[in-house]
């Protein structure tokens, strides 16, 4: 008599933004899929169609695809591109004749089902998933939003097949993170959808405890099934190099901010604080390097330039200059060089008590001093409070922020390899793999059949 070995558990992962997309949320999705594959799951990902990534968004990083575990199977259900269609020949007769009416009709049709523009993709996800499930059943479904239509498709798949699902709120949906108020009016269909999605999910995941608590308050019956998986950082994408302590070069201090500067961030406060900080001898001639875009659109940079003391070409304006330098966008492969170049990292963030920026984990991984420029009650405090080289004014008053910058500058000058190693040791607990373990265990526990013993294999 022979016993066959139980088959590997099968996970269906619904993640619109997946490599080669280089959207900000893609790193969590990439790490999650890799983590489950390494933990012995047979992972199928449903992701955005490549035409959308290449032609509509145009934000791709093909090298990122090489970091996806080759055991992962990726499918890309269709997305109706009517509202984004720019190729005239691909337009239907209706859109080519009455373009506005056609788009309005298309939106009306989509919004009847789900209040989001990715609904056609979500519907195709359901069809693809049910077909694949009929060939070989899935054991669990994990969906990540945004887009939140991914949650709707997980719910539909659950209804059609009975497979348990988890909704991973990588981003906030019904809560506006900038105003801390509900993002939709009371009777908006998003509320009914969220209620059924959270109500029927086996677990709901949030990136910080403040968000978990807000949702637990709204959906108390599901509160016990809610969990927090912070964003963390990816050691395979960030080589932080050896701990060297303070720079040995005889030069002014370098402060650095990495990311897109947006109108919601306290940019004016940061610029003014840095101007004041440079009046202290420790920060004489210091510079604050901005590595990223100014605004999300090509035309949105003009409004920021005078605030930063820069002229229309992004160069320092002699009359306004107070040490801010625009260094432009950085590819993921150059990020380590940016951290190496700067002595102090500036954590400029918008929003309040529900915001944890993903970049703070990478900042901590460098083991360098971090100075905060954001609202004092921000959720990122949750992780920053244990970091030994965190400097905060607990205020956005420029004079106080300037003092925090000066203290961070002093710490950078005196930084020892030992201090840096201690800071990095704290950041190590936020390595993505470690953070994903509880999620993997929770989903494994929902599987209704015997599974092979868990063996971690990073491919």
């Amino acid at each position: 008599m022979t016993f066959s070995r139980p088959k590997a558990p099968r996970l269906l992962y619904i993640a619109f933004y997946f490599p080669p997309s280089r959207a900000s949320g893609v790193y969590r999705a990439r790490a999650t899929a890799n983590h489950f594959a390494a933990a012995g799951w047979d992972v199928t990902v449903l992701a955005a169609p490549l035409r959308f990534l290449y032609e509509v968004i145009g934000s791709v990083d093909e090298k990122l695809s090489e970091t996806v575990d080759p055991r992962i199977h990726v499918e890309r259900p269709e997305l109706d591109l009517t509202r984004w269609e720019s190729d005239l020949r691909s337009m239907s007769w209706l859109q080519g004749t009455l373009p506005r009416t056609a788009v309005r009709l298309h939106k009306w049709r989509e919004e009847r089902y789900f209040p989001e523009q990715y609904v056609s993709w979500a519907r195709n996800c359901v069809a693809t998933a049910v077909e694949a499930h009929n060939r070989e059943p899935f054991d669990a479904v994990l969906s990540t939003g945004n887009p939140f239509a991914a949650f709707a498709s997980a719910w539909e798949i659950h209804k059609a097949t009975g497979v348990p699902y988890v909704a991973d709120y990588r981003d906030s949906w019904t809560l506006d993170l900038f105003s801390d108020e509900p993002a939709f009016p009371p009777k908006h269909p998003a509320w009914a959808w969220e209620q059924r999605i959270i109500g029927d999910s086996s677990h709901t995941v949030f990136v910080n405890d403040a968000l978990r608590a807000w949702h637990a308050d709204r959906y108390p019956k599901a509160a016990e099934r809610m969990m927090v998986v912070p964003n963390g950082w990816d050691p395979d994408l960030l080589d932080v190099g050896p701990t060297t302590g303070a720079s040995k070069e005889d030069r002014p201090l370098r402060f650095g901010y990495l990311g897109t500067v947006t109108a919601k961030q306290p940019v004016a406060e940061m610029a003014e604080a840095f101007r004041q900080a440079r009046e202290y001898p420790e920060l004489l001639d210091a510079e604050l390097n901005i590595h990223g875009h100014l605004g999300f659109f090509q035309t949105s940079h003009a409004g920021f330039l005078p605030l930063l003391g820069l002229d229309l070409n992004g160069e320092p304006d002699p009359e306004l200059d107070h040490g801010l330098r625009l260094r432009g966008p950085v590819s993921k492969t150059e990020v380590a060089g940016v951290y190496e170049h700067n002595d102090v990292l500036v954590f400029l963030a918008a929003g309040g008590k529900y915001v944890t920026s993903g970049k703070i984990f990478e900042y901590m991984a460098t083991g360098k001093p971090i100075v905060s420029v954001h609202a004092p009650e921000i959720a990122a405090r949750e992780v920053l409070e244990g970091y030994p080289l965190w400097f905060t004014a607990d205020s956005l008053e420029p004079g106080l922020v300037a003092k925090a910058m000066v203290e961070a500058g002093r710490a950078a000058r005196a930084l020892t390899p030992q201090q840096q190693a201690e800071a990095r040791a704290y950041a190590d607990r936020f390595q993505r793999d470690a953070l994903l373990d509880p999620l993997e265990a929770a989903i494994r526990a929902t599987v209704r059949r015997p599974l092979p013993v868990r063996e971690v294999n990073h491919g």
Binding site: D87, L88, R89, M91, Q95, G96, L98, P99, R100, T299
Partner: protein
Amino acid sequence: MAEPTATRPRVVLLTLTYKLPDRVQSYISDLTGAGVRVDLLVTERRTVEDIELDEELVKVHHVFEDSEMYGYPLRWVERRVLFDVPTKVFTKTREVTRNGERMQVLDKTALKVRQGQAAVSQGVHHGLFWPVFQRARPLLLMSRARKALRGIDVAGADRIVAADSAVVPLAWRLAKRYPNIQATTALDRKPWVK
């Protein structure tokens, strides 16, 4: 040695707004900066009146030599009936009623009627005529633009660009007629602008 103008790439840029938007102006400027020739189709002559364009590289074509309004009898009649004629009538009336105390009551009444008429005319224009005309305009323009298109060598162009939604019906038909030319609504500068 500079590349002869005739061999440079050429874009047929179609736009049927009344004023050339900034994004279209900057698109033309980027293309001509990279040496690309542009056949620009606009609604009226005055659409580009105050705009500096590279005369060597940009050739402007108009759907209407004069104002678009004179191209459509219905629009012209609407303007006359709702605005021009009432204005003339009331101006003449007030020339009479304004003088003399005995006419004061009539003058006040005329003013009130004038205010009421202006409100009704604006309501009819913005609430009824314009929404209908705006929807029909792209289709009307399509037939009116044929004459202007005769002056453009579309078959020899490298790209057809529809810069606004009003011109999509025209551009869509050109795209079908010339299947080998890239036809898009995106103001894409690649591959000419680095």
